[in-house]
């Protein structure tokens, strides 16, 4: 996982609530066995006029020129500004892989789908939560100044855009993982004794949950 310390990039506004993970990456692309290569299918139903397939190069498809991600400079955006409950719905991590592969590193929204938010951290994406009023102001800023860039400092927990500086909350664990690009599984390995001890205790408490093969 790529560490995320500071990031600066173009902000693309997606001004609607409840953007779901089906919208971020339609089910057609869940047929892949891979965990990468989804960037050209992000927002697929809106980005293309014709239906796609995982094994069909996107270059051969008709792009929807009206969709914001097809318009420069947003086709190079790496910060996504969104509305409430972004990433709701399915647990598919593919939606986050699509954002990441497109080049998005930072999200700004009032709230996120719970599972989606975890998936972001597990892939080195930063989902910043800001109050609705602040998000509304950011939409106004970005819509008035297409291609404006935002700068995020993970260590300091700050966001700079259009001459303004905002702070955001981030818990210590997520900050640490982002800064170091840490693999959670490797980190949990340091707890293996605790897991084994717990398991021994739990086997006594609830033996019916063990040796369950039939």
């Amino acid at each position: 996982m790529q560490p995320l310390r500071t990031h600066q990039g173009i902000v693309v506004p997606i001004d609607r609530a409840n953007v779901d993970t089906d919208m971020l990456l339609p089910k057609e692309y869940l047929k892949s066995l891979e965990a990468e290569g989804f960037g050209e299918f992000l927002f697929d139903d809106e980005r293309y006029l014709d239906p796609g397939r995982i094994d069909l190069p996107a270059a051969s498809r008709r792009r929807n020129a009206a969709f914001i991600l097809n318009q420069p400079p947003y086709d190079r955006a790496s910060v996504l500004l969104a509305q409430a409950n972004f990433g709701c719905g399915s647990s598919r991590e593919h939606a986050v892989w699509a954002l990441r592969d497109f080049g998005i590193r930072v999200l700004l929204a009032p709230s996120y789908g719970d599972i989606f938010r975890n998936n972001c951290f597990n892939n080195g994406l930063l989902p910043v939560v800001l109050p609705q009023a602040e998000i509304d102001r950011l939409f106004a800023t970005v819509q008035a100044d297409a291609g404006i860039e935002a700068r995020v400092d993970v260590e300091a927990g700050t966001l700079q855009i259009g001459g303004r500086a905002l702070g955001f909350e981030l818990d210590e664990g997520h900050r640490h993982d982002l800064l170091h690009g840490l693999d959670e599984i490797a980190r949990t390995w340091t707890c293996r004794q605790a897991i084994t001890d717990y398991e021994q205790h739990w086997r006594q408490q609830a033996p019916w949950l063990f040796d369950r093969r039939r």
Binding site: N18, S91, D114, I185, T188, C191, A194, D197, R212
Partner: protein, 486 residues
Amino acid sequence: MRPCTPFNVYNPRQDTVTARTLYDKLWDSHRVADLADGSSLLYIDLHLLHEVTSPQAFAHLRRAGRALWRSDATIATPDHNVPTLHRELGLDGFDDPLARLQVDTLERNCRAFDVPLFPLGDLRQGIVHVVGPEQGLTLPGMTVVCGDSHTATHGALAALAHGIGSSEVEHVLARQTLRSRKLRAMRIEIDGELPAGVSAKDLALHVIGRIGAAGGSGHAIEFCGRAVRGLSMEARMTLCNMSIEAGARVGLIAYDEVTENYVNGRTYAPSGSLWQAAIHQWRQLHSDEGAVFDRTVHLQAAEVAPGVTWGTSPDMTVAIDGRVPTLEEARTPLQRQDWQRALDYMGLQPGQAIAGTPVDKVFLGSCTNSRIEDLRAAAEILRGRRVHPRIRLAMAVPGSGLVALQAEREGLDQVFLEAGFEWRAPGCSMCLGMNADRLAPGERCASTSNRNFEGRQGRGGRTHLMSPAMAAAAAVAGALVDVRSL
């Protein structure tokens, strides 16, 4: 940062005298360690796998040279991407080489990592969230995860269950734990009794309509009250299943005699003295008197009517005798804009009556509504009736091979076939339309599934969510209709 502080599992404070919620009890009993960042390591008792969100996790395990922690707590079955026709041919019945490769990969991964599998052709194969409870794999008091957001279904058995992403699937495979943050607790109390002709699905849609698609975000919801106590186990699963559509990863219902009777005698459930020990423990699986919830919502069951969704978010619901909202009713400019977009997508007019809207396809199935009681409810409406000629396809997709077998024993398959439904093989099917079962652009579907998102059942397809009885009624009428009027 310090790696982890083992939680003292023998600490008698676990049985503290302070009143705890059901969620507190499940959380406390599975807490392995407290991590320095404020999260906890939670032990996972049951991990369900399917072909779509597991291949990346297995591939990564392999590359990192990691072993499976515990294969007897893991079980797999293909469901998301299996065809519902020609299943007697096994993998040769697949038209889609990518789907075939996914199912084949699941089988190979299960062999390589020694994970028990209910493969294609096995009667026990089916939708993970139907199979877990049906087999007695899901038990009260346990933690259950799966790379699927509808894992909340299992909370109906007083189990702490939620969906996870593929990175977390890998974490559970390798460490049998999950790094978790405690959710806030929300209680949804539904007083009174559901009126005749109103089902758990109608109740779920009513709840989501009331609290909104993000109303439960960051919360574990416990459903309680007389109306919930009065639901069968399968109806409770329908209710908990849709928690995620209200934004909550976790939906819970306290253990009671309905739970006990449901679990007793199932294949993987304990028996004999173990059963006695288990039920002794399980009977504590309820929120204590005086337990504190972060939020409580009271609803009256008498106010629930057969419901349908009109838009592209599951909180865009309306009673079948109601009207689609007008844009003037929107509370914010953003909501107005979202409603306009939903109306355009759905091909509906603001303020129009929802009943009478013509339907092209009918889908009876999904982890929400593919159990035997769902099939019985639909068959009861269809008996002696015919699918309206306007309907291009009406399909019934049982949730598992065993559900199908039971339905066939009861002659329900014949009821469906005689009415003009197709009787298909188990899988997720048109709920997410990964396989060939999907809507064409502009097609309108009466569906018992859980999501009405744009493109969910097929690019450009229009989904109206409803109960099995309502979907059957729509099939007969060729349009959205109040099942109570048939």
